[in-house]
C-alpha cells in the first residue's frame, strides 16, 4: 500500500504527487481529526493545516523511523490535540464530552461514501469493550503502549497481544 516512489516525489516537491497523497490519506486523516475534535468545521481547518505540514515537511519523513501512514497519523493527532487544548476551543466546547470512534459510528446514520460501512457496523457490533478502549487510545488518541497500560491498568504485554487480537477482528470484518 505504501508507495515509496510516490513519497519520494512528494519529498521532491512534486505537487501532483502531493495531490495523489491527499487522495490516499485525506479521508482517514479527516476521520482521525474528527474523532478528536468532533466538529466538522474545525476538523476541515485542521485537515488543511495537517496537509500543509505534510507538504512543507515531507523531507523530514524517514522510512527507517516508521510508516508514512504513521507519520501522517502523528501529525494529525498532534495538531488535533493541540487544538483541543487551545483556549478558544476549550471555551467554545466547554459542555461537550469528548467522544470516541465508537460513539461517532453508532450515531452515524448514513455515510454513503464509506464502502466499508456494513463491515464496520458488524465490527462495532462484535467489538469487545476492551478493544474499543485499546483502539481508541492507541490508534485514535496516539497513546504509547506504556501510557495505554497505565491508563487501562493492564500489563504492557497484554496491551500488545490484546490490541493485536482487536485489530485482527477489525481486519476480518473490513478486509474479507
Amino acid at each position: 500500500m505504501q508507495q515509496d516512489g510516490l513519497i519520494r516525489e512528494l519529498q521532491n516537491g512534486n505537487q501532483r504527487a502531493f495531490e495523489r497523497i491527499y487522495e490516499l490519506y485525506s479521508e482517514s486523516t479527516f476521520g482521525i481529526i474528527y474523532s478528536i475534535v468532533n466538529d466538522e468545521k474545525v476538523a476541515e481547518e485542521l485537515l488543511q493545516d495537517v496537509f500543509m505540514k505534510i507538504w512543507n515537511n515531507a523531507s523530514s519523513y524517514d522510512s527507517d523511523k516508521g510508516r508514512f501512514f504513521t507519520w501522517v497519523l502523528n501529525i494529525a493527532r498532534n495538531a488535533s490535540i493541540d487544538k483541543l487544548r487551545s483556549k478558544d476551543f476549550k471555551n467554545k466546547r466547554q459542555n461537550l464530552q469528548p467522544e470516541n470512534f465508537v460513539d461517532i459510528l453508532e450515531t452515524r446514520t448514513n455515510h454513503a461514501a464509506a464502502t466499508d460501512a456494513i463491515g464496520i457496523r458488524k465490527f462495532i457490533e462484535a467489538l469487545e469493550p476492551i478493544c474499543k478502549k485499546l483502539i481508541d487510545l492507541l490508534f485514535f488518541k496516539g497513546y504509547t503502549q506504556k501510557e495505554t497500560a497505565e491508563e487501562l491498568k493492564m500489563p504492557l504485554g497484554s496491551v500488545k497481544t490484546k490490541n493485536r487480537a482487536c485489530i485482527k477482528s477489525l481486519r476480518k470484518f473490513v478486509l474479507e
Binding site: E27, E44, W55, D64, F69, N74, F139, R164, R171
Partner: protein, 267 residues
C-alpha cells in the same frame, strides 16, 4: 527469528499505531525491509485501521484539497516575498548607512565650519594687527616726512648738542624752525633714562643765563625713532637737556645736564 511469532506478538500493530518508542520503531522498520511477510502484515494492519478511520470521517474531504492547493500556491508565490524583503532589507541598510554617512558628514562639516570660523577670527585679529601696524607705519612715515620737511626747510636750524660731564658720550640734535615755532629733537644719542626719571629740554638765553623749559621727552622707551616734537617760541640761544625727576622741574638740575649746544649766531 521466528517470523510468525514476531508477527503474532502484536508489535506490528503498535508500530502502525505509532505506540512504540523510536528505537523499537527503527527495529520494526529494519525487519520490515528484510522480510516481505512482515511488510505484507503491516500493510494489512494499516489498511484495516485506515478504513476504520475513514468510516469515522463525516464525509470525504476532497473539496478541501482546492483550499490547500491555493494555500500552497500562495506560499510558493510568497517565497518571492522574502527575496523582496531581502532587497528591502538591503535598501533599509543602505538607508541607515546613508543616514550615518550624512550624520558623519554633517559632523565633519560642523567641525570644519568651526575650524574655519576660528581661522577667520584669527585672520581678522591678524588683519587688525596689520592695520594697526600699517597705521603706525603710516604715522611714523608721516612723522618722518614731516621731520624731513622740517630738516629740509631753509628756515630750520640744526643745533648739535654735545655730551656734558654727567654723560660725556651722549649727544643729541635739535632741528628748530623759528618761523613755525617748532623743534624736533633727535635723542637717539641719549641713554635710556633710569626709572622714575625723565629728560627735560631747556631753551637758554646766555646774557643773562635764563633757562626756559620747552618740554619733556615723554615715553622715551616707547618712542622707537627717538625723535620728539616740541613747541618753542623762545628766542633761544642754546638748548640743553637735563635728567629730571618724573614730571619735570621748574629749574634745570645743572649737575644732571647731559647735553648742551649753542645756536649758531643769528644772521
Amino acid at each position: 527469528m521466528d517470523l510468525q511469532e514476531y508477527i503474532s506478538s502484536g508489535v506490528l500493530e503498535l508500530y502502525v499505531c505509532g505506540a512504540l518508542s523510536e528505537e523499537e520503531s527503527r527495529e520494526v522498520s529494519n525487519e520490515l525491509k528484510q522480510h516481505p511477510e512482515i511488510r505484507e502484515e503491516v500493510e494489512e494492519i494499516e489498511a484495516a485501521l485506515s478504513r476504520l478511520a475513514v468510516s469515522v470521517a463525516p464525509y470525504n474531504p476532497q473539496e478541501v484539497l482546492a483550499a490547500i492547493n491555493t494555500k500552497i500556491n500562495n506560499e510558493e508565490r510568497g517565497q518571492t516575498i522574502p527575496a523582496q524583503r531581502k532587497t528591502a532589507t538591503v535598501i533599509t541598510y543602505l538607508g541607515w548607512a546613508a543616514s550615518l554617512l550624512l550624520l558623519v558628514g554633517l559632523f565633519f562639516l560642523f567641525n570644519k565650519n568651526n575650524e574655519l570660523r576660528e581661522a577667520l577670527r584669527n585672520q581678522q585679529a591678524r588683519n587688525a594687527q596689520m592695520e594697526q601696524q600699517i597705521a603706525d607705519a603710516r604715522k611714523s612715515a608721516d612723522k618722518a616726512e614731516e621731520l624731513l620737511a622740517i630738516i629740509r626747510d631753509r628756515n630750520t636750524e640744526r643745533v648739535l648738542l654735545a655730551g656734558q660731564d654727567a654723560a660725556p658720550d651722549s649727544y643729541a640734535t635739535v632741528f628748530w624752525n623759528a618761523e613755525q615755532n617748532q623743534i624736533f629733537i633727535d635723542a637717539q644719542g641719549l641713554p635710556e633714562p633710569p626709572r622714575g626719571k625723565v629728560y627735560q629740554v631747556w631753551s637758554l638765553t646766555m646774557q643773562p643765563l635764563q633757562p626756559t623749559s620747552i618740554g619733556l621727552l615723554d615715553d622715551f622707551y616707547q618712542d622707537e625713532n627717538k625723535v620728539f616734537q616740541l613747541e618753542n617760541a623762545n628766542q633761544s640761544e642754546a638748548f640743553g637737556i637735563t635728567l629730571e625727576p618724573e614730571g619735570g622741574s621748574e629749574t634745570p638740575s645743572m649737575d644732571q645736564l647731559y647735553v648742551l649746544g649753542t645756536v649758531a649766531a643769528t644772521p
